[in-house]
């Protein structure tokens, strides 16, 4: 049975989404248990796959329909996929647990079954994108993930529908650019299989159409993951979406896009294509540097916590691109580790933002006064996430940033090094602003005047079903930091292409 896991992890949420939708006509209360059970199964499958990959030490190939690769569709799971699969599965499970109370508050009761169905389809799409070894299959799964995202984003507050429409327009341009890139590769090689393309592409290195195809891939995936000049849809869509939705999409979708970029640049196209042949890495480095600077300035200008975090995503994507652009083993290790860490960090920050909105309705950071009295645990989780983003040692964010910095030093790209360090400082200012507002009492005011002398409530007024996943994510951040050496030794060092 274990050799079927690569298919099962994608197909189980898919088939359960249909069952969930039909069951909801009879009993709506069964929806959430089905969702949670399915995602638990996915976590098991993902861990099984990771275990199998580590034991075998080489990629697992799974032929769908029993057809041999260039003709049929193939799933190829190597160390990189397996790591991303496990992280996506765990974060999705935690966010699902978290989402129950938030969604019940923010969405109309009659929309819940559809929401859970789309949640499962979204997760299906993310798993499929990660697992597949076929270019066109990736496109279809990207569209499944995007469609469910469009719909659930539009259910948010005022303005979310317009943001979702802009996301539809941008997302369609991105998906079409990707599809056109697939068309260019297909017309030049006649194949859609990634492993087959790896063999065929080096013969075409000086082909101009191949370069156009490569650029189209970068633009297409870049829009989906929100790299700097193509990010314009991102802040609005993720800010105005319901809290549970932004907690699901913001950590996962953009990072899976980053995974796709790494896959295309280093597996489908030979690494030497973008390092030696064309100055792709320099261009990407410049884009990332400008993007991080822009995103940091924009984040400083925001007083809305969620919108600030959205610009932070753009900056974090810039970090990953910096790791790719350093084009050496250390930098890429940092980039891959940052994909994993950032999923947890963003999940942490967005769940906290959702919890604060759930409890107090406040989204502006200047409304956070005295919050440490009423929601100490939530703010504690927030501090863990914030320290991790800034890069303070025991948290995981430090280690990926460390590798990114080492990578830029080895590549002698001093500008990127400067941007990394400067943006860490800006992050510190950003989060200090929030923490100051939440923790430190303004001079001349008496705190107890407002909450009427009530002692703080131990549960934060937030249901356990939200608090436990948040604590687990915070614990995950610290554990990932402690065990980052283990992850690098057993997984990531095999995920980096051998030619580095």
């Amino acid at each position: 049975m274990i050799e079927q896991f690569p298919a099962l992890i994608v197909v189980t949420p898919l088939i359960m989404s249909f069952i969930l939708f039909v069951v909801s006509y009879w009993n709506e209360r069964l929806c959430f248990p089905i969702l949670l059970a399915t995602l638990s199964a996915c976590v098991v499958f993902a861990l099984g796959i990771l275990d199998m990959v580590i034991k075998h030490g080489q990629p697992i190939h799974y032929y769908l329909g029993g057809w041999d690769p260039p003709w049929g569709i193939e799933y190829v799971i190597d160390h990189l996929n397996a790591l991303v699969l496990v992280t996506v599965a765990i974060v999705a499970w935690l966010v699902a647990l978290y989402s129950k109370s938030v969604v019940e508050k923010e969405l109309h009761e009659s929309k819940l079954p559809q929401f859970y169905t789309l949640f499962l389809l979204q997760v299906t799409g993310l798993f499929g994108i990660t697992a597949t070894g076929d270019m066109f299959n990736l496109y279809v799964l990207l569209e499944i993930a995007s469609f469910s995202a469009y719909a659930i984003i539009a259910m948010g507050e005022r303005g979310a529908d317009f943001a979702a429409f802009r996301y539809v327009v941008f997302g369609t341009i991105g998906a079409c650019a990707y599809l056109l890139g697939v068309g260019y590769l297909y017309i030049l090689t006649g194949s859609l299989n990634m492993a087959d393309l790896t063999q065929l592409i080096p013969k075409l290195f000086y082909n101009k159409a191949l370069l156009v195809g490569f650029a189209l891939f970068l633009i297409g995936v870049g829009i989906k993951m929100g790299i700097f000049p193509l990010h314009t849809w991102l802040p609005d869509a993720y800010t105005l979406a319901p809290s549970a939705v932004s907690a699901l999409l913001a950590p996962l979708f953009t990072k899976v896009g980053a995974y796709v970029i790494i896959r295309i640049m280093f597996t489908v196209f030979d690494p030497s294509f973008s390092i030696k042949l064309y100055p792709v890495m320099d261009i990407l480095g410049w884009i990332a540097a400008v993007g991080i600077a822009f995103a940091c300035i924009m984040a400083l200008a925001q007083s809305d916590l969620k919108r600030m975090l959205c610009y932070l995503i753009v900056a974090e994507m810039g970090y990953i691109v910096i790791g790719i652009a350093s084009a050496n083993r250390l930098g890429l290790t940092g980039a891959i580790l940052h994909i994993v860490n950032d999923m947890f960090m963003m999940a942490c920050l967005f769940t906290v933002a959702g919890a604060i909105m759930y409890q107090t309705g406040a989204r502006n950071i200047y409304q956070f006064r005295y919050l440490h009295r009423t929601m100490p645990v939530t703010l504690g989780v927030f501090v863990v996430g914030a320290l991790s983003v800034v890069g303070v040692p025991p948290m995981c964010g430090f280690f990926s940033k460390w590798y990114l910095i080492l990578g830029t030093i080895e590549a002698k790209k001093w500008l990127l090094l400067f941007v990394l360090l400067a943006s860490s400082l800006v992050n510190a200012i950003l989060f200090f602003r929030v923490i100051e507002n939440a923790y430190l009492e303004p001079r001349g005011e008496h705190a107890f005047a407002h909450d009427g002398g009530h002692p703080s409530i131990s549960l934060d007024g937030v249901p356990w079903s939200m608090l436990i996943p948040m604590l687990m994510i915070a614990a995950g951040i610290i554990l990932l930091g402690i065990f980052s050496g283990v992850i690098i030794k057993h997984v990531i060092q095999f995920a980096v292409p051998a030619s580095f």
């Binding site: 279809v140 529908d161 317009f162 429409f165 539809v168 998906a175």
Partner: protein, 130 residues
Amino acid sequence: MLEYIIAKYNYWIYIFLLMIGFYAMMAKNNLMKKLVGMNIFQWAIIFYFVSIGAKKGGTVPIISGVHGHHGAEHLVVHAVDYINPLPHVLMLTAIVVGLATTGIALALLIVIYRRYGTLEEDEILEELKK
């Protein structure tokens, strides 16, 4: 130069269509027109893919005169006689994806119109600032 255009006219047409759609998506103020542009954009790509499948001297990829594999043993099929079926398969999928995008976008437009009473982008932005 003329040779260059005539022998590759399918690419010229697809690029032309693609840019019409792209311009409409970028520049038009009315969201419905953006949606129309989006459809043109998608169909340009579908056109491009279908044109890959063409093969001089080939016919539709349906093998005539047989049904089921019994009796297929003595039948020799030459690949040059039939056009390439794969782009057609891919485009069946892409058409469905395009249809789904249009459906969702239309639903969003109805929601937007219901809430703001207009489909002009600048008026919606004006409304949102209030």
